[in-house]
Symmetry: C2
Subunit: 350 residues, 2 copies
C-alpha cells in the first residue's frame, strides 16, 4: 500500500505530473491523491483512467500519504511541506523554499540519487528548472573529468513564469504578427499596447520579437535570483561547494523548453568524441550533434520530451580542459514535473 499525493494538481506543472503518471507503463502507487487550493477542490481529474476528486489542502489531506509531491509557490511549500511530513509523508518539493537548506537534499536522480535517502527534515527538494536543464549533461561529464568552472548563458522559455507567462507570450505574438514591427525603437511595445495588452507583464519588457536579460528577482551585486540559483544549486547537486560559476539568465520568446550555452572547464583532459560517448550512454540524454546535417537541439524539437538534448559540442580552442556545448530541456518536464516524479520513484524503489 503506497499512496502518492500531488499538491498543486491543477496547476501547469501538476497537469504535466498527471501526464507523466498516465504515460508510465506501471506505477507503484495503490492510491493517487490530488490536492489543491480550496478554490480547485471538488474538480474531478482523470488519472490512469480513473476519475479522482481534487481535495482541499489541509493537514488531514496528508493522512495515509507516503510521498507528497509539491508544486506550489514557495510560501505554500514552506508552510505545508512540514505539515505533510508531520502526518507521515515524505515531501518532494519543487519550490525554492528548501533547496539551499543544508538539511534538505537537492536531487537529480541520475546525478545524486543516493542523497534522496538522507533527509533529516523528511523533505527532498527538486532543483530550479534552469539548473535542471543542464544537470544531467554536467553530471555525466563531471563523473568523468571533474568539473571546475562553469560559465553559462540561458535562453529561457515563457512557461518558466507559469501559465501566465505562456498566455502573455502568445498574446504578444498575436499582437505583433503581420505588423512588420521590430525595425524601429519601441514599435514592438507600441504594437503590444495597441492590442490592449496590460503594461504589467510578467517579463518586465516585451517578450515577442525581443529577449529580456532579467529573470527572477534582483539580488546583491546586480545578480538575479535565477542566476544565483544556477550557481548555488549546481554546487549543491554536484557536491562541489567551491565550483566557480557565472550565469547570465535571459528570457526568450519560446513557449516551453529552456536552452543553455555551456562553457565548462574540468580538472582532467576532455575531448569531444569521449564527451559524445558519455552523453549517448545516458538514458536521460539525447545526443544530437551533427551540425553538417543541420542536426542540433532547438527548443521546438525538444518540447514535450523527457530527455535533455545536447549538441554543438566543441573543444574550446583557447581554454585547456574545456568544452563548449548547447543543451535544451523541457522546463515543465525534466525541469519540473518529471524530475520531481523521478525522485518519488527513487524513494519508493529504494
Amino acid at each position: 500500500m503506497t499512496t502518492l499525493a500531488i499538491v498543486g494538481a491543477t496547476g501547469a506543472v501538476g497537469s504535466v505530473m498527471i501526464d507523466i503518471i498516465d504515460a508510465r507503463e506501471t506505477v507503484p502507487w495503490t492510491e493517487i491523491r490530488l490536492i489543491a487550493s480550496p478554490r480547485s477542490a471538488g474538480r474531478r481529474l482523470r488519472v490512469r483512467g480513473e476519475e479522482i476528486e481534487v481535495v482541499a489542502l489541509s493537514p488531514e489531506a496528508f493522512d495515509g500519504v507516503d510521498i507528497a509531491m509539491f508544486d506550489v509557490p514557495d510560501a505554500v511549500s514552506a508552510e505545508w511541506a512540514p505539515v505533510a511530513v508531520s502526518r507521515g509523508a515524505i515531501a518532494v518539493d519543487n519550490s525554492g523554499a528548501f533547496r539551499m537548506d543544508p538539511e534538505v537534499p537537492l536531487v537529480v536522480p541520475e546525478v545524486n540519487a543516493d542523497q534522496a535517502h538522507e533527509r533529516p527534515k523528511g523533505i527532498v527538494s527538486n532543483p530550479n528548472c534552469t539548473t535542471l536543464s543542464m544537470m544531467a549533461a554536467l553530471g555525466a561529464l563531471h563523473r568523468a573529468y571533474g568539473l571546475r568552472e562553469l560559465v553559462v548563458a540561458s535562453y529561457q522559455a515563457a512557461s518558466g513564469a507559469g501559465q501566465e507567462g505562456i498566455d502573455r507570450l502568445q498574446q504578444e505574438i498575436a499582437a505583433v504578427a503581420g505588423k512588420g514591427v521590430g525595425n524601429r525603437r519601441g514599435d514592438v511595445a507600441e504594437a503590444i499596447a495597441s492590442a490592449g495588452l496590460s503594461e504589467d507583464s510578467p517579463f518586465n519588457a516585451p517578450l515577442a520579437l525581443n529577449v529580456v536579460p532579467f529573470a527572477g528577482s534582483l539580488r546583491d551585486g546586480g545578480w538575479t535570483s535565477e542566476e544565483l540559483k544556477v550557481r548555488n544549486e549546481s554546487r549543491k547537486i554536484l557536491g562541489l561547494p567551491d565550483l566557480k560559476v557565472s550565469a547570465t539568465c535571459v528570457r526568450v520568446p519560446v513557449v516551453t523548453t529552456h536552452s543553455i550555452a555551456v562553457h565548462a572547464t574540468f580538472d582532467g583532459e576532455v575531448d569531444v568524441a569521449t564527451a559524445q560517448q558519455l552523453f549517448a550512454a545516458q538514458p536521460s540524454i539525447v545526443l544530437l550533434d551533427e551540425p553538417e546535417a543541420k542536426r542540433f537541439p532547438t527548443p521546438a524539437d525538444v518540447v514535450g520530451e523527457d530527455p535533455t538534448y545536447v549538441g554543438r559540442i566543441r573543444q574550446a580552442l583557447d581554454f585547456p580542459n574545456t568544452l563548449d556545448f548547447f543543451v535544451c530541456g523541457d522546463n515543465l518536464r525534466k525541469g519540473a514535473a518529471l524530475n520531481t516524479y523521478e525522485i518519488a520513484e527513487e524513494l519508493v524503489r529504494n
Copy 2:
C-alpha cells in the same frame, strides 16, 4: 573635392548607409556616388535631398572616387575592392573577404582608429556585426584593465541574414500567431509548413517561438564561421593575438539588434562602479544598468539606435578580475553601415 561611393547602395545595409548620411548635420563629401549591380542600375535614390541615379558596378564607376564603401557579398568585394583601389579609391569593406588579411586593418574607430591609416592594400575592413556589437564596450574595458579572456553567448537577430532573414521571421511569426503552438514537439514547424512557407529557411530550423544554435557555416571542430569570426576579429581589433575566446552564436526571433552575454576576464582588478563610469564616458555607449527600476538593454529598445547599450554589469562571484554583462547593438547600424561610415569619416578627417 571628395567623392564617396556606396557600393551595394540598394541593399539592406546600403539603405541604412543612406539614412545615416541623411541624418548627419554636415558631410565632407562633394559628390556621393551610388553603385550597385547592373540589375539595380538606373534606379534613382534620394540622398540629402538630391536625387542620384544608381550606376552599374564597373571599373570606370570608381574613377574620381576617394572612398568607396562596399556592402556586397564576399566574392564581389574580393573582386571589386582591388579594382576600386587601382582606380585611386580607398576601399572600406563590410564583407568577410579581407578581414583576416594581415595587410588589411580591421577597424572600430573608437578602439583602433589609428590602424585605418596603415593600409598596404588600400583596403580597410569593417568587422562582423556580432563582434562589432560588443567591441566598443570591450575596448573601453581593455584600455583600463587589459583583456585576457572572453566567454560569450550571442542572441542574434534575423536581419543578420539580410532582408531574406527579416522576411522569413515575419512570415513565420504570422504563421504561428494565434495557433497556440509551442507546447508540443514539432508543432511550430507544422504551423509554418501549413502556412505554405518553404522548408528552405535561411535559419536551418524554425525561428519563430524557437532559438537556433547555429549561424554561418560549419568549420573544423564543430565551430561555426560566426563563432570563429568573434574570436579572430576580437583578437585582431584589440591587438591581442593570444586573447582566449570561446563563443556560442545563437539566432533568436528578433528582427534587428544583436545581444551578447559577455563574461570577460582582465589582467587588472575590476569593479562594477568603475566599469559603469568607463561605459558612461564613451560617446558610442549608452549605460542602462538599473535593474531595480527594470532598466536594462533589450533589442526592442535599441533597434535603430547608433550607440551600443550596456547593462546587467556584475562582478563575477567566483572568477577574479572578471565582469559579466549584457550588451545590445543594432547589427545594421553600428554592426554594419554606421561603423563603415565612421571609418570613411576617419579616413577623410585625418
